[in-house]
Symmetry: C2
Subunit: 361 residues, 2 copies
């Protein structure tokens, strides 16, 4: 597996975005967002997706030169129209706005319509975290998830992220799809020709299947079936809860913003791509408006210690806190470089040629 | 099964609370909260729990005559100290405050410490809903849930509720514990001497067990093991997501309020009950500050219709929207009366005698 240095990967990715006429700052935001995912050990959301953004810009469904506009605003809230721009830029703008409002008025809530894929949800909750605030970030996404008792993908994997600072510990960073697995996991099992566990996906009849190839084929051709919500099939393991959380995300991102939701997000019409109309939701809370920030972080340490120091299940020797694995990856990859899949590495090379950016990795 | 009329049940329950010196209004709030759960087909949180409140008051761990105090406040936020009062009154007070703030300033966020069990989370999100606002309600709770790879109950079933109005449809009311099952389900399986499905609970070693008696015994004696988070055991079905959501709730209810969290909530010390120190979190959003409320509710109808009208899985003929089953129960029980378990009915009779309230049901 090729190993690349963070700095070089950032630099290359930034230049690719600059090749479309973005200024250095905007291009850096987009690059930083993708490289952050790779650094945190989430390669599915990293530079492996660069091609998708390049294609989106080329196909005219991502408009890289528009600026998000404020549709409606109060001292603590805003509705943003992303103007079909790059999700990373729209997300960054909206998160900055939420932070600014929270600094002035304790709370900032920003809901966004007409955006595009914004990368990992945690990027934005961690932007808020950097200000020593409590941050929430959500987005709706392409419909890949089948509600309980349905056999159609009508809802997205709709992730939720919350980031909260601690004192002597790493912060708590939850960043989770509300589906039982991400699409990427399906693809991994398919490549490895492995059967999936029962409870991840349903087939075109809405019945559990362990065959990843079948699900992927159905998914691409939209023949029915798809990924199950967190909690799995039917009601036995409370799959309706994961389904309910996905709807919660759609309400805050899609409905509250006056935008798209459910199967209206990121669709193709008659085989032709149309703007994805993704919606986001950001919340920044100024901790000091609620409680002494030192008390907050001390209590966070204690909460996380209580969990982590609880007795382990047999054959287990570590209880993970959310974000912990990612911070460990980050520390390692920042020192040793980021491993990229051969296929991803070669794809970056191709993108470099397409965009006439020197491939120095 | 005895059938009782809503009015009579409300009246009786109110009088029980009045017997402790509560005024009629406060007693009504407590009664309404419990009867609402029964009406909505959630008997585990209904008058079956009245004894628990009566005992709590008698044992001095619920202080029925204290008033919640505002510890800190901004135009959009507040921290409340529940003063160990009745959770229903603290919750009601705090939700009213969140609503008042949202009316003035678009958003109201209230976090609460030092409260008691507040009943169903949905009671408060629906109070906000009645104002045509978008409402969120969360609470932490007694530690019954085992984090991924642990064998100790360090977190609560920590429910999340979101209520959002629709136009021609019933509103969307999500009200879910972040655990895979509630404790009540364990008790039902134990009474019926049934094996549980694998993935609901772990034993004292942190390994999956299907024996409800064993888990309940461990749970009561706190020998280890307990209920699994939404997503089940280990990482295969993403149990760490349910566990993460439970921590999210604890951060917003327990840490942000400066109160108790994790295994500090609702504990006994050396076999002696101490105040439960429950924390809550309420958020009210004034929809009109974001988007035309008619557009919002029309989009809600469309979102819910898209889901409900999607193709059904084989052998299924109905896709449920969150809150739908509960509204159906409500309509039925308001007309026909509420069925109570024989045991619960008799317990109410006993409470009536204890509290010298006429048992007219």
């Amino acid at each position: 597996m090729p190993i690349v240095q963070k700095h070089n990967l950032l630099n290359f990715t930034q230049k690719v975005f600059q090749s479309f006429g973005l200024n250095a700052d905007d291009a850096f935001i987009c690059a930083d967002n993708l490289v952050m995912a790779d650094l945190r050990g989430i390669p599915s959301h990293g530079v492996a997706r660069l091609q998708r953004y390049v294609d989106g810009i080329r196909d005219g469904v991502i408009l890289p030169h528009t600026r998000p506009t404020i549709v409606k605003e109060t001292p603590v809230s805003a509705v943003i129209d992303g103007q079909a721009g790059l999700g990373q830029l729209v997300g960054h703008f909206s998160t900055r706005l939420a932070i600014a409002k929270a600094k002035q008025a304790a709370v900032g809530i920003v809901t966004v319509r007409n955006s595009n894929h914004y990368g990992i949800a945690g990027y934005y909750s961690m932007m808020i975290l950097k200000e020593n605030m409590l941050g929430i970030s959500m987005t709706n996404s392409a419909p890949l998830v089948v509600p309980t008792f349905s056999r159609e993908m009508v809802i997205g994997t709709n992730p939720i992220s919350l980031a909260a600072p601690a004192k002597n510990r790493q912060p708590f960073v939850l960043d989770m799809a509300t589906s039982v697995i991400p699409r990427g996991k399906l693809e991994v099992y398919n490549r490895e020709e492995k059967k999936m566990p029962e409870g991840w996906t349903v087939d075109e009849n809405g019945q559990v299947t362990t065959d990843p190839g079948r699900v992927l084929n159905n998914l691409i051709k939209r023949l029915g079936g798809g990924i199950l919500p967190l909690g799995g099939e039917g009601e036995l393991f409370s799959g309706y809860k994961g389904y309910g959380l996905a709807v919660l995300v759609d309400i805050l991102c899609g409905v509250l913003s006056g935008g798209a939701y459910a199967d209206l997000v990121d669709r193709t019409i008659e085989g032709k791509k149309v703007p994805a109309e993704v919606g986001h939701f950001f919340l920044a809370l100024d901790i000091a408006s609620f409680i002494n920030p030192d008390t907050f972080t001390a209590k966070m340490d204690d909460l996380l210690n209580r969990i982590q120091n609880s007795a382990k299940a047999v054959n287990q020797n570590h209880i993970y806190i959310h974000g912990e694995k990612e911070f460990t990856f980050m520390e390692k990859y920042e020192k040793q470089g980021i491993p990229l899949q051969e296929k991803v590495y070669k794809n970056l090379q191709t993108i470099g040629q397409q965009c006439q950016v020197d491939f120095i990795l």
